[in-house]
Symmetry: C2
Subunit: 309 residues, 2 copies
Amino acid sequence: MIDKLIAGIRQKKAPVVVGLDPALAMIPPYILEHAFREFGQTLEGVGEAIFVFNKGIIDAVCDLIPAVKPQIAMYEQFGLPGMAAYKRTIDYAHEKDLVVIGDIKRGDIGSTSEAYARGHLGKVRIGDAVFAPFDEDIATVNPYLGTDGVEPFVKLCREEKKGIFVLVKTSNPSSGEFQDQLVDGHPLYELVAEKVDSWGKEAMGQSGYSRVGAVIGATYPRMGQELRDKMPHALILVPGYGAQGGKGADLAPYFQESGMGAIVNSSRGIIAAYKQELYAAYGPEGYADASRAAVLAMLADIRPAAGMV
Amino acid sequence: MIDKLIAGIRQKKAPVVVGLDPALAMIPPYILEHAFREFGQTLEGVGEAIFVFNKGIIDAVCDLIPAVKPQIAMYEQFGLPGMAAYKRTIDYAHEKDLVVIGDIKRGDIGSTSEAYARGHLGKVRIGDAVFAPFDEDIATVNPYLGTDGVEPFVKLCREEKKGIFVLVKTSNPSSGEFQDQLVDGHPLYELVAEKVDSWGKEAMGQSGYSRVGAVIGATYPRMGQELRDKMPHALILVPGYGAQGGKGADLAPYFQESGMGAIVNSSRGIIAAYKQELYAAYGPEGYADASRAAVLAMLADIRPAAGMV
């Protein structure tokens, strides 16, 4: 799936992923009202509204981008109906031939990580039947528990050609608290990066990139350069663009040759574009068109930084 | 909820939690067959079987222990029907007045952790209605993203009197890869422990323990002692007893005065007891009674180590 993602980046000239992280306050009132008329002011109503909202955005931007990244927490917060909206979103994105990056940040001891890996990237066998429960193409993984917590995901990268992005250096303000601590003179995130490189060697894709990639926040471009060099085969998922403060011009260090090697995520900046002054003319009914305009603006900002002409 | 947990430990003389981590292979065939007759060999069938299996164990052991700890990965692997079984298990354990520790190991950037915290420990407001989507009492939290990723959970510890256990030193073989790395001469897990102590000061319970506790694997008793001293107000959740190799006598360092200060988890050792030679006479139909016998044996092993008479 890393190969498919890279082909999509190349074909659409778009090293960009749209984060489908819908908060209740982002959903236009007309969508909420419609869903509440059918399901009441319930978790089911919100689940329906989230899916309808996402569908509009996917329809509006699917020809421009190779992938979407639903953040599972934004669905999980609404319980089972929220999780159902997550699954419907994955399935609909697949219908539109988009790569789905499940931003799940799971990670546990070996046997437990195996269950997560199976449920999200793999298959479960029940009697004679086989099911792919969530069926994302790629998942984000938390490395704090070490190799045995990551290995079950790497195994599915090898066997099912799925992909993962391991958290190396996150985009949030306090990411440095543990990740930047010096170990033998080098920050911990470098040690994680070395592991990503070594895990990745066991799961190389056809494209020259590994199926094991890394997350490095857009808010730390200097680190981006160092880490890029430490993980030459890793595709880098870059969150933190836009709402979290990162700018296109800062992102050049994350890229390798022409637009390859990194994929930049924007969530709020795209899906809630209609709430920005710049796109206010679209209005709530035009939220999906506003998202499309915001993707086009993001592409215009990112392509030069990526050296993509 | 940490207060309720501590009262339960005291009253039942049981610093013990049963991990409800059902793998398909643990569920007695008669339960699976019954569920499959109703729902087919489907994810729904497995979800039903998991719940029935858990219910039997909860009924058999609820008078002996203060809490259960469902490991969400074991449910999530079966998709939405698995998550529904997770929620039914939480609700049923609450009916039996057990504290529910959701072993979810979530952790993300601030705004995303907020969504996780709300969905698992908090409430969401939809119009005039308020819902508690998953409604665990306590959750496990991954600290890799630093304070802003943990703070939303701590906030609910303060405001809703919920509890968390932060991963400090996990029980798995490769936990040392990152957690043991020396930072200024001290292992990283000590730095995490210091943070747990400082987060915990903002959320003290009535019992003298903080609502912010720590996870320290049973497989590292020497570290247990050091960390116990660094976090005097933290209740310690100790996984890794039994199947993962920890023994009662090794656990004395995790405890403070008479049976207080720690709670030891056993999962496979209890819920799959009927598969052990020792309890084989119970047979698959007697799996719940076998679990009860295994809890009694565990209590006999743990109470002396905990100094509980």
